[in-house]
């Protein structure tokens, strides 16, 4: 098999151009899906028989929670590729992903708290899912802080990559131990919040939002990747000619 396309893709000039060309292919569908999903979720879907209109925050909350994990996985895979094959572009993908993932994690926590207040009567409970999401935020913070503390870019890339991989090994352990910790401490009274098999007219906007958010991450990742390449290759000759065009 011919791998030149792969090496081409991994070279910064090509990646810079291809990313620019791909952005609209992610951004427009993402925008359309999110608008359609929001209309479906906020207007068309019926109110929940228990939670009333308050349940509608799920259309932001669930996609954020999904992406908080999906982005971490993407980051860890990119980091591992960067470590093993020493592909600098992979490190750039990991570097561009971390703040996006942290933002989604924060958004999931924030919308969860806003949802929790009317439903559970409190902003925060030490529920297993909430706690493991919070720990995920700390893991993101660790990766970002480590990268920020090392001046040498190559060393920063690889150190952050090792930490991301260690974190992804730990994530299932953290998830299950927090789950057991919670069931050990208190019976599941509040924790089983409303996910009775959703009816179709509530479900399809959620699926649109999930897909829309994921495509949005793709678009943001590509834009951030371009910025990351600009930063990393600022002294490169190809960039001067590229920008002069």
């Amino acid at each position: 098999m011919n791998w030149t396309w792969f090496h081409k893709l991994a070279s910064p000039p090509h990646a810079y151009r291809i990313a620019a060309r791909l952005v609209p292919w992610f951004a427009w569908p993402a925008g359309a899906l999110i608008v359609a999903g929001l209309y479906g979720g906020l207007v068309l879907a019926p109110a929940d028989y228990q939670q009333g209109d308050a349940f509608r925050i799920v259309y932001v909350h669930a996609p954020s929670a999904w992406l908080s994990m999906f982005v971490y996985a993407t980051m860890a895979v990119a980091a591992a590729i960067g470590l093993v094959w020493r592909i600098k572009l992979a490190h750039a993908v990991a570097a561009a992903s971390a703040p996006v993932g942290a933002s989604f994690t924060f958004l999931a926590l924030a919308t969860g708290a806003i949802w929790g207040k009317p439903m559970w009567g409190t902003w925060w409970v030490w529920d297993a899912r909430l706690t493991s999401e919070l720990i995920l935020l700390f893991l993101y913070a660790g990766v970002m802080a480590l990268r920020a503390s090392i001046d040498d870019r190559d060393r920063a890339d690889r150190a952050a990559a090792v930490l991301a991989v260690v974190g992804v090994v730990n994530l299932p352990i953290i998830h299950y131990s927090v789950y057991w910790w919670n069931t050990l401490h208190q019976p599941a009274t509040l924790t089983k919040f409303g996910k009775p098999s959703m009816s179709g007219d509530m479900l399809w906007p959620l699926l649109l939002m999930l897909l829309g958010f994921t495509l949005y991450y793709g678009a943001v990742l590509l834009i951030r990747l371009r910025a990351e390449i600009l930063k990393r290759e600022r002294d490169a000759a190809w960039l001067t000619t590229e920008l002069a065009r």
Binding site: L83, I135, F138, L139, A141, G142, A145, L146, S149, I150, R155, R158, A159, V162, L163, V165, V166, G167, V169, N170, I173, I174, S177, V178, W180, W181, L184
Partner: protein, 227 residues
């Protein structure tokens, strides 16, 4: 000259670190004293009733141990990094992961083990019944092992960085949370007279996992940091 075998190399690394530790008693004692101080903070903050302290004894012991080993693990590679020993280890041709394991074991011997031996005293101060001492020591013995292993990764990653110690906490503490959950739970069960077998077994599984996987990760991190 005869080439040094890998087990002999590991043994030499272990012995060297022990010797160095015994010649700097002050450094060895610091995390222990820190452990005692943190454990003292809880009664002062929460009130002196032993019945209440007994309820949080497991958590207190574990949080104190967590912070103390964080303090200790920072020194794991620092001196070697400063005086160039680390570079010699890197170019020695010996498997770095094994040397890291030996160094981690030495670190546990001088930092974790004394903490385990001191723990019953602190536990008694927090109102834990003597019958729970076995579980207290076992739980902390397993736990400090896990913390040494995770700490080795963090310590290797933050080697030579400014404000490395703050960063070390940020990196290692989230990873150590599962161990904290089961370790504190085991002590809690023992204090209430229940069997603590389940959490202790889970803790042992975590120890096996971290001792197996942490040395290669820490070795990779050392290679990156020492460049």
């Amino acid at each position: 000259m005869e080439p040094t075998g890998i087990f002999r190399a590991a043994w030499l690394a272990y012995r060297r670190d022990l010797l160095l530790a015994f010649r700097h008693w002050g450094q060895v004692a610091q995390p222990l004293i820190f452990f005692g101080i943190v454990a003292t903070l809880f009664p002062l903050a929460l009130g002196p009733q032993l019945a209440e302290l007994r309820e949080i004894a497991g958590g207190t012991l574990w949080v104190a141990a967590l912070l103390a080993s964080l303090l200790g693990v920072e020194l794991l590679f620092r001196a070697d990094h400063t005086d160039g020993t680390l570079e010699q280890l890197l170019i020695s041709g010996q498997p770095l992961a094994l040397l890291v394991l030996a160094k981690g074991l030495a670190h546990w011997t001088v930092c974790g083990l004394p903490l385990v031996l001191l723990a019953p005293l602190v536990a008694a101060g927090l109102g834990a019944p003597p019958a729970a001492n076995g579980t207290v020591m076992l739980s902390l013995a397993l736990g400090t092992g896990i913390l040494s292993a995770l700490g080795a990764i963090g310590s290797a990653l933050t080697l030579g960085l400014r404000r490395g110690s703050l960063l070390l906490g940020l990196l290692v503490l989230p990873l150590a949370m599962p161990a904290l959950i089961f370790g504190a739970r085991a002590i809690d069960l023992a204090i209430h007279g229940d069997g603590a077998r389940g959490p202790l077994l889970l803790l042992s599984a975590m120890l096996v996992l971290s001792v197996t996987l942490a040395p290669p990760a820490a070795a990779a991190a050392l290679r990156i940091s020492a460049e």
